[in-house]
Symmetry: C2
Subunit: 312 residues, 2 copies
Amino acid sequence: MASYVERLHQAIQKKKTPALVGLDPRWDQIPAEIQNSADASGGTCGEIQAKAYEEFCLRIIDVVAPLVPAVKPQSAFFEACGPAGVIALRNVIQAARQAGLLVVCDAKRGDIGSTAQAYAAAYLAGEDPKSAPFGADCLTVNPYMGVDTLQPFVDRAKEVEAGLYVLVRTSNPGAGDFQDRETDSTKLFENVADRVEALSQEMANGNDYSSIGAVIGATYPKELDELRKRMPHVPLLVPGYGSQGGTSADVAGAFDQNGLGAIVNSSRGIIFGFQKGKLAEEFGEEKWEAGVEAATRLMIEDLAANTPAGNL
Amino acid sequence: MASYVERLHQAIQKKKTPALVGLDPRWDQIPAEIQNSADASGGTCGEIQAKAYEEFCLRIIDVVAPLVPAVKPQSAFFEACGPAGVIALRNVIQAARQAGLLVVCDAKRGDIGSTAQAYAAAYLAGEDPKSAPFGADCLTVNPYMGVDTLQPFVDRAKEVEAGLYVLVRTSNPGAGDFQDRETDSTKLFENVADRVEALSQEMANGNDYSSIGAVIGATYPKELDELRKRMPHVPLLVPGYGSQGGTSADVAGAFDQNGLGAIVNSSRGIIFGFQKGKLAEEFGEEKWEAGVEAATRLMIEDLAANTPAGNL
């Protein structure tokens, strides 16, 4: 058995990139061939969309599995299809794991005591995907309710060798509304960071990193640099690269000198990369899978050229 | 069409109680007759548990529908069964609505932009349960990521006449870790409260209350009293009564003088009430549904005797 962060770092070193592909399917952007095939199979609108999302994501997994260490399905888009979408989410997670990818389920769960235990049991499987119904390696969680509400997730992560990314500094424009509130020269997000570092340091047990990570948006590079130093044992998940405006220079501070300690997510920029700019001209919808591969390779090259990921 | 808060207040006045029954099924507490029947139908462990949860909740709905205005299924326990549990959750929500109950789906979702839109579209249906896959009247949401991440939920609530309860002051022991952080004499939860009041006041459009509500735990009665005054347009959802230690005296401050403006949740104390104390002696598992009814009636009487709900 290896811990989440050990498996993650092995995968990063094997693929020589910290690029994370976000699986955020949206009906109006799915290639027409997949829409038509799902439509032809019939069912409710939610069932048809779920079928299309599953096929789209499975074909993306085939493309990216040789290239990147991990994928991050966004639960919201699957839940929006109703129960059929949740079945598709489970199938996508299982397919990604069978393809040798690590899976971070982006569901941003959080609740008290035994309710948090139930969420942790639903999603966190660690190395054996069959040890939880949704079978992910890792889950994003929300800290607002307090450290006691993170503990059941931490306990489960320890038990099954799974991982967590706790929301610390998010990538959205209004991230600072509450996260930036300041007391005694510490902002709320810094206080959350300190508590997550404490949980992570304890779990690291002498190693460089533990499996208790944090989400820090690429859209706030100064905070990202500071938080990397503030949370030395915490692996980072950095959203906001690409479509949200973050660049490779913005995320460079997330890594240690070996290029470890962080994964950088791109969702729309990869999975719908064939719909914009030069990739649209070169590939378009007809060769959309080649467009997804090209977008992935561009991201990998960009991170290698402009961040410590080049040292991998 | 009537807004969520109008429908809620009509239902509270019709049933003459603000008691909210939380549907938090747990396998090891489900009556053996239901466990056995689910076991006999076969399937995976998750499928069997989901089947039992659905039957248990549907029978509770039959018992409580004539007595209370609303129920609050806890999504985590259903998700812990995997996709089969999510189908059961959808069926429980639909059955509750068919029985004339309002449904608050307790899923504590929260994310940025279009992802928040997807969650809102998944759960918030308003008066027409078919207008969203899960078809709830109302959803609990987490504010940590900022006001811009609440806006898609607010927009959807306006569009379909649904409701929200934003986490402000939760009921768990560690609630204060981040929520109590203070700046300029305002604590974080007070700052969140002010932002929720602003959203709610705008939506109230001259009425006493809007459909943008807040979660405030019964386990912090002083804060509850203060927040009621601080958020005059905000309907409250008060967890923590009963099993978590909150009393009717603790929740009295949540109401206006007419007994409106709040609903008080009890989960384990109602649905597993037949397993403890006098109700266990009088009813036990053999007459568990009568025990659920008795526990519900005791809560209704307690709230009527010791809070402004007696004025309904």
